[in-house]
Symmetry: C2
Subunit: 339 residues, 2 copies
């Protein structure tokens, strides 16, 4: 596991703090932009949106946009990078609202989900609103190339959501399909968030390619760890209930590996619990025990480390600045939050 | 009621046919573009989307886009007007998919609704997909001004949907709020559909303003008639079940007028049936009788005629061509389909 040596010579667990501190001004401006853009005479909109967006979360995606822009030397005094970062957060938030409806989730980031408080209908419609606001922000920025990247990413996300829905609860889902889903659902927006940072800084050559790859690999690693944490995390860290994916019959890599590596009896267990959603007392614990025996959570994290390594290498062409060091540490954080 | 005198000197009811016949080539190209753009390796997407989009409907909105472009002398051989028209239809379709989920509708255009066949989850996500595809199409067309118009329209629609949700079942909703809802939910997209037709033809002056106004007023008239038909239409013509709005407790102008014009006993009836959704055998018939007594459906249609007249006048600055005559007939059709 990566350790960071602090200025005082002490080792500490990797975190997001260095990156957040370098980008603190931009992040504060993003906060304000988010609040401004959520405004509507229809009071339910800012109310519901604020519950989700205003309440924070790690803001990984907008952070990626401004950090990428700054890494590419973006110095302009205008607010186009702020608008883009806000746009990326809104696309993400719209997806979360619709996801929680589709997954019937009761918790989000440790708080009651918007759908559990305001109902599915409001969540669907406010999600649509945030999505359209995201597009208004892009149009404001005024670059057709950037619009192309973000509209393709949005389309890919939507396609990935449907793919996940149709492969849901199918224990024979191959790892490749799972990877396709998380690339589309999660990693593509990380990739686009970083890519448009380079674009707004006018770096459309190798830096843009590198940052897109950085975002994509970081996003895959991030989702793999999320899916592992669903079986081994502590609820306080997780912001969701341990075992949510299991209870929803969601096919994630820990399940796929445990299914593939198990014998007939194990496979019957997975089919009953995941495919038929026929779950009994003690099933989650048994699932966790099977994963332990087949190292399927450990190997999910191993896969995450592989993508994390690729993300780190993608930054190879940038000079070693404090910002780059902080971005590399963010990769370690994405993976090591599992521990 | 408007009557059209045919070439043979016979009077016939106004229809969409003349407009559809003038725009037949464009409409066929739109059909093909729709099919192409719905493609996805995720089979559920074209399957579900095709059920709704492929099955037709009147295609009023894309028709408005190509007709407006042609009215403004658009002659170009490229397919930008086709892409815009397809984009407008996709925005509309995405809205319908989400609407049916929110309204728990079982029928759409006389067929089982997508959500009743594939479930709410698929409808929400495929709606998102169509929406993102719409934005990809806009980006393809490559005009930031047009992107601005359509992204603002989309945002207004989403805001209108939320406004409708929060004012749902409130019998004290003023006519002004209802008008705001239908402007945002329906008329704004009609307006944008016509406006971008002018823009693609390079007519950004009075023609653009006129066509936006034409679309807005036609859209308001169209929705007013729809809301009237929900109480007096025949299911075969309507493509939805008579009384749907009543059963959902939807506040439309026929209800608002009947509530305002009724006495205490009537108001108690509306509160019980619409606000509390406590509905019994014979309630729909009683609602229809109250509307008859208070002329609330008739006056809803009268209001529609007012907006129809404004739509007709908005075309005053265009030369009298067969296309313009056909557009004027389309206004009459939107209103007279009630008979």
């Amino acid at each position: 596991m990566a350790k960071v040596v602090s200025l005082e010579g002490k080792r500490r667990a990797p975190g997001l703090e260095p990156l957040l501190s370098i980008c603190a001004d931009d992040m504060a401006r993003i906060d304000r932009e988010i609040l401004t853009r959520m405004r509507s005479p229809v009071a339910l909109i800012p109310e519901l949106a604020n519950h989700l967006v205003g309440a924070g979360g790690k803001r990984m995606r907008p952070l990626l946009t401004v950090a990428s822009a700054r890494l590419c030397g973006y110095q302009s005094d205008d607010d186009r990078h702020i608008k883009l970062a806000t746009c990326v957060e809104f696309i993400h938030s719209a997806t979360l609202l619709h996801d929680d409806v589709v997954d019937v989730s009761a918790l989000r980031r440790g708080k009651p989900s918007a759908n559990s408080l305001w109902g599915d209908k409001a969540s669907v419609l406010v999600g649509d609103f945030l999505f359209t606001r995201a597009f208004e922000l892009m149009v404001d920025v005024g670059s057709l190339d950037i619009l192309g990247v973000l509209s393709r990413a949005s389309s890919t996300i939507a396609e990935g959501e449907v793919l996940q829905l149709v492969s849901q609860r199918d224990t024979s889902t191959p790892e490749a399909t799972y990877l396709e889903v998380i690339k589309a659902k999660t990693a593509k927006l990380f990739a686009a968030a970083a890519e448009v940072g380079a674009m707004i800084a006018g770096r459309n050559g190798p830096e843009r390619v590198a940052l897109e790859s950085f975002g994509m690999n970081l996003g895959i690693a991030f989702q793999l760890v999320d899916d592992a944490l669903d079986y081994v995390g502590r609820q306080a860290d997780l912001g969701k209930t341990v075992g949510d994916d299991f209870r929803e019959g969601k096919i994630t890599l820990p399940v796929i590996l445990a299914f593939l590596r198990g014998g007939q009896v194990d496979r019957e267990f997975w089919k009953r619990t995941i495919e038929k959603l026929d779950q009994r007392e003690g099933d989650l614990e048994h699932a966790q025990a099977l994963m332990e025996r087949h190292h399927s959570v450990a190997d999910t994290l191993e896969r995450a480390r592989h993508y994390g390594a690729m993300a780190r290498d993608a930054l190879g062409l940038f000079r070693d600045t404090p910002l780059k060091v902080a971005l590399l540490e963010a990769v370690d954080f994405a993976i090591d939050r599992a521990h």
